[in-house]
Symmetry: C2
Subunit: 372 residues, 2 copies
């Protein structure tokens, strides 16, 4: 994976970059309107406070023609408007502008202080590698499905996947706290089955609901001796994600993109930066060539941005998923290199009775690849 | 406002309607793929459980050509996949499909049991009218801005708005817990100023952050004798919204649409149904002819769906906002009728020293309109 460095905003400021459908004649006015929308949301002429005028109102820093009727506007915002809350950062970056259907949040920069406030991944790629003793190679993962089967059957399935030698097995993001497999029943059974089948495999339960419910779930996770979980921050809310990360520094968090939407927040900014900033050790996102429409360039950028130097934050592991197969492992590793977690869900489950062997073939393909 | 009734799903089921960009040749396969994506997210052939096949896998109920390359797919899902969690309902309706950029969540239907689980508005239009003694007319509202000025100045501004006779004054959704106007300092000062200027005016603080932080904020709200708040559920997370509504049945909740645009849910379904279902007594959304791109038809549909009969749920008040002015009051009331809250923010603040008089003119225009 190509390394670069994510730019850091000057002290006190926040920089949001939007892509806007516009004409050359209108873009300056549009950019100014977005700067106002994302800061004071009222007529500038009616502002009487010098502090608000100088420090709070968004400022258009630059406008650039990207061609094809798309313009890029870099807008400076005040970091004081964010405080210390992840939800409020999302609100300041894209709260109202998300409702304007010709505006995309393309990128953002935060100052050192916000990097420290949120802290980023507590474990990141090195931590996720260390947990499973996988130095210098890509990580392997699968997903427990389908929802609807009882906890004991999920546990049996997890055991067969673990026996294939996977590094990580995550709950399907649809597994919540349903009557057919309640969290408090499912997680201990699966953890036990995975440990029995392969002590080296880590099982990631999906935590969800309110902060309070997630706290209870994390209690179950700890009681089972687990140390890695799955979370969908756009569903739980970014603030709740921030809170569980801060309260559980020894747990690694892998994010699921559910409800993250398509293309309104650019995927590299969304997964590689926002989720990483808030503490994602790994980020699941749709791979190219699967069931979703991300391009190879977008996928490369998610990984590149998420792994880039960023004021000392740990790198977050790109986890491309969605319609992946063992046949694509070499192509994926040629593309992503070693700094990746490959996730095959349905593609393994399709093997039916041959699940453990199919899993072992996937694991072997990843382990025997010649990393350069 | 034209009354109709929102359809209710049969017991045990959930119906999601998606609009999909497709061809006639491909739509059946696309619809089936969405049904799988939103339920088991794995190859159907690999499912061995009869229960999962019969009850959990999404079923395509109908496909309809809407013209212009857009098709509508009605998909039946199992209500058991939702449990009792608002976040999980969003996940089941649109978790993964939100990432497919040619799919929109157009509408949904839930069974009686989910209406009871979530409960909808605890006060709704009747309660918001009763709070301010406004029978048979539209309600009036404004917003406190800009963020960045100290609490005492916000309080002075609120007093001048209240003196104009408004029914409701809400915090700007950008007002969080920033250092320049912390929640615990700002809210008591503003509540006092509003009460002193006009005891009939209700002040709505903006609650935000984690469930725990919102609980603390609601304590401040109660200590100040307030009974109505603003919340942005797409930022706080739907589960946290559900939790504060359930825990505070005497408080009325008005929702802000911040970040709602990022995931492409049709506004009538999003504000008129989802937010209402979770407990929104009133829903702020961008009015047509302002700074946003909603059409008159979309705005009418948000109001119509939000006010429609729905298994006994209270109606949620449509609150069109964004670039509104007093000059448009007659047009707005001709369009929406009496069952609306008109919100003018910046348009009043532009009056500067004349703020109270400008507010009084807005209030008088709404009160003196001849409702039929």
């Amino acid at each position: 994976m190509q390394r670069h460095a994510n730019p850091i905003a000057p002290p006190g400021s926040l920089v949001a970059t939007y892509r806007v459908r516009s004409t050359a004649a209108e873009i300056e006015a549009r950019a100014t309107a977005i700067a106002v929308e994302q800061s004071i949301e009222m007529p500038v002429a009616a502002v009487t406070s010098a502090f608000v005028r100088d420090a709070i109102i968004g400022k258009v820093l630059a406008v650039r023609d990207c061609g094809a009727g798309i313009f890029e506007a870099r807008i400076g915002l005040s970091v004081e408007t964010v405080g210390r809350d992840a939800g409020q950062l999302l609100n300041m970056l894209f709260g109202n502008s998300s409702i304007q259907d010709d505006v995309t949040l393309w990128d953002f920069e935060v100052p050192e202080t916000l990097l420290q406030t949120f802290g980023g991944p507590r474990h990141g790629l090195p931590g996720l590698r260390e947990r499973v003793g996988a130095e210098g190679r890509a990580l392997t993962a699968s997903a427990l499905k389908p929802q609807g089967i009882p906890s004991a059957e999920l546990a049996a399935l997890a055991g067969r996947l673990a026996a294939g030698g996977l590094d990580y097995i995550k709950d399907d993001h649809g597994l919540a706290d349903q009557a057919y497999s309640p969290f408090a029943e499912r997680v201990p059974l699966i953890a036990k089955a995975v440990r029995a089948a392969n002590p080296a495999t880590r099982y990631l339960p999906n935590i969800c609901g309110t902060l309070e419910q997630m706290r209870t779930q994390l209690g179950v996770v700890r009681d089972c001796g687990l140390d890695t979980v799955l979370i969908a921050p756009m569903i739980t809310g970014a603030s709740a994600f921030q809170a569980v990360v801060a309260a559980h520094p020894d747990i690694a968090f892998i994010t699921h993109p559910a409800l993250a939407g398509a293309s309104r927040i650019a995927p590299p900014a969304h997964f590689g930066k926002l989720f990483r900033l808030f503490g994602a050790d790994g980020v699941v996102y749709p791979n190219f060539g699967g069931r979703f429409s991300y391009s190879p360039e977008t996928c490369r950028a998610v990984g590149g941005v998420g792994m880039a130097d960023w004021g000392g934050l740990k790198p977050t592991v790109p986890i491309p998923a969605g319609g992946m197969t063992t046949e694509r492992v070499t192509e994926m590793l040629d593309f992503y290199g070693a700094d990746v977690m490959l996730l095959i869900g349905g593609g393994l489950l399709s093997a039916g009775a041959d699940l453990t062997n199919a899993t072992a073939r996937f694991v072997k393909a990843v382990q025997s690849y010649r990393y350069t």
